[in-house]
């Protein structure tokens, strides 16, 4: 349900709010691209691409600063209430989270230097690739949920975070086995482990975005709601 079915009486205010949502979407797009191209760059040892990603992170940071600035300006000038207030505050949080995800991508891209002359074998990086896809899906879904204020989608993203964590654990174990098998794999696997970690953290930030989407729509905190739901389920089970 779109809480903003009707338009604001003051057109310029409405435009500002639209701009803000557009900025978030754009930033989201930039960040998604950053994550996927960073993994690609790492797995294909593309130094050039890596440099580009590092530079691109500056743009992402700039974007976050701009969103912050606009949000503060709107609070001062428009005295937003209710839904508008939640939208602006959430946008600040989401921009923050997106910036952190951007940093994750930067970290992954940095790894390219360290894997000079190494070849990654598909057996090893397939897990990471899979995790990348899942993480990207999380990011995309959470941003979609935010843009369309879809509470169900938001809940889905939050629930799937366990999956992401589980994925990381399994990759961790797998790579550990490979490292134990052959010490020559250690460099490769360690780098992949770092990637996995970054991806897992990116996933967490996506979850934050989903929680922001839920808050935007309902004004309530999703973790608290989920806790309560879980407690209720447990009670029912016990009974």
């Amino acid at each position: 349900m779109d809480i903003f079915e009707s338009e604001h009486i003051v057109t310029s205010y409405q435009d500002e709010l639209t701009d803000l949502a557009a900025s978030i979407s754009k930033m989201g797009g930039m960040v998604e691209t950053a994550i996927s191209s960073s993994i690609d760059a790492l797995l294909s040892h593309d130094k050039k691409a890596a440099k580009k990603i590092a530079k691109g992170d500056q743009a992402i940071d700039e974007m976050q600063r701009r969103i912050d600035k606009n949000a503060v300006s709107m609070i001062a000038r428009r005295q937003p209430m209710a839904g508008d207030l939640r939208l602006i505050i959430s946008s600040i949080h989401v921009a923050n989270d997106l910036e952190r995800i951007g940093d994750m991508a930067k970290n992954i891209a940095r790894r390219v230097k360290h894997t000079e002359g190494h070849k990654f074998s598909p057996t090893f990086y397939n897990g990471v690739r899979h995790m990348t896809n899942v993480t990207l899906a999380q990011i995309k879904d959470s941003l979609d949920a935010f843009a369309s204020q879809d509470t169900e989608a938001a809940i889905a993203v939050c629930n799937r975070d366990d999956e992401v964590d589980a994925l990381y654990v399994s990759i961790f174990r797998e790579l550990l086995t490979y490292m134990m098998e052959d010490p020559r794999n250690i460099t490769e696997c360690t780098n992949l482990l770092f990637c996995g970690k970054n991806l897992e953290r990116a996933g967490d930030h996506a979850t934050n975005i989903a929680e922001a989407a839920y808050y935007l729509e309902t004004g309530k905190n999703l973790p608290v709601i989920l806790e309560e739901m879980k407690a209720q389920e447990q009670e029912e089970q016990e009974n």
Partner: protein
């Protein structure tokens, strides 16, 4: 059985000072209020918000029976002060208005001296036995209204010689001089500049300690700043009411949301 600790915050049960139940108000054949239920809590500031013509002023004026002065106005339903029906034939409306004071939108001090303005109410209600008592009441009321320091040297000057903000504070002093229990304020700051408004909002906060206050306001920011409980009216109906912080961050009703974000007039 669960041995889960239930987090129950112990709260004081709110004391209801005034209540309206099923209140309908008619101006001739036109109905202005439809079945309004609202409770006013003691020592709290309740604000009534809504677009023009939504009936909030009409509802406010029910509480001190000022609607009686309009011939074609008819009020039905239950309106109580301390659980006493205020429209009961046995209630003396003059006594009611001493207990429920009112401050109006446009400052309207009497064209008398500042002293006389404040002293008039206590005099006619017999609250002072002699001049000394009366002086005391006047000084106390002016102090409470935050006006005493500014006018203590010129109590004999006309009330209309003051600035707008001072006049409104004089009207507040006049209203509280009769030792009311409830103070009704009908857009008290709409004719004042921001500084005067701020002074009066601070005053409202201080007065909350001793009085129950109901304020009608057009400014949502003011309602958000000043009140603890907010009620939203629209086209004569009470749409939503609740804690101010909740109404302004996450209202339940879409109409409320649309109004306070400025999406409908």
């Amino acid at each position: 059985m669960s041995d889960k600790k239930k987090n129950i915050k112990t709260q004081k049960a709110p004391v209801i000072k005034m209540r309206g139940k099923g209140v309908d108000v008619f101006y001739g054949n036109k109905q202005a209020l439809f079945n309004v239920d609202l409770e006013i809590e003691k020592n709290q500031v309740t604000s009534l918000i809504g677009p023009s013509g939504c009936g909030k002023s009409t509802f406010l004026r029910c509480f001190n029976r000022m609607n009686d002065t309009i011939d074609i106005c008819r009020v039905s339903g239950e309106l109580t002060l301390d659980n006493q029906d205020i429209y009961n034939k046995e209630i003396d409306v003059v006594e009611l208005r001493a207990r429920v004071g009112m401050v109006f939108q446009k400052p309207n001090p009497f064209p008398k001296s500042i002293y006389e303005n404040v002293a008039y109410g206590p005099k006619i209600h017999g609250l002072a036995n002699n001049k000394t008592d009366l002086d005391e009441i006047v000084v106390k009321s002016l102090r409470r209204a935050g006006l005493f320091e500014e006018v203590k040297d010129r109590l004999d000057e006309s009330g209309t010689s003051l600035s707008g903000g001072q006049q409104q504070r004089l009207c507040i002093a006049r209203a509280i001089a009769t030792r009311p229990e409830v103070l009704l304020m009908d857009e008290p700051c709409s004719a004042l500049d921001p500084i005067a408004t701020a002074i009066i909002e601070e005053l409202i906060d201080e007065l909350r300690e001793k009085f129950t206050i109901v304020i009608v306001t057009h400014s949502m920011q003011q309602a958000a700043r000043v009140s603890q409980k907010t009620a939203f009216f629209h086209l004569g109906k009470l749409i939503e009411e609740g804690k101010t912080s909740k109404i302004f961050t996450n209202p339940l009703n879409k109409k409320t949301q649309d109004y306070i974000t400025g999406r409908i007039g």
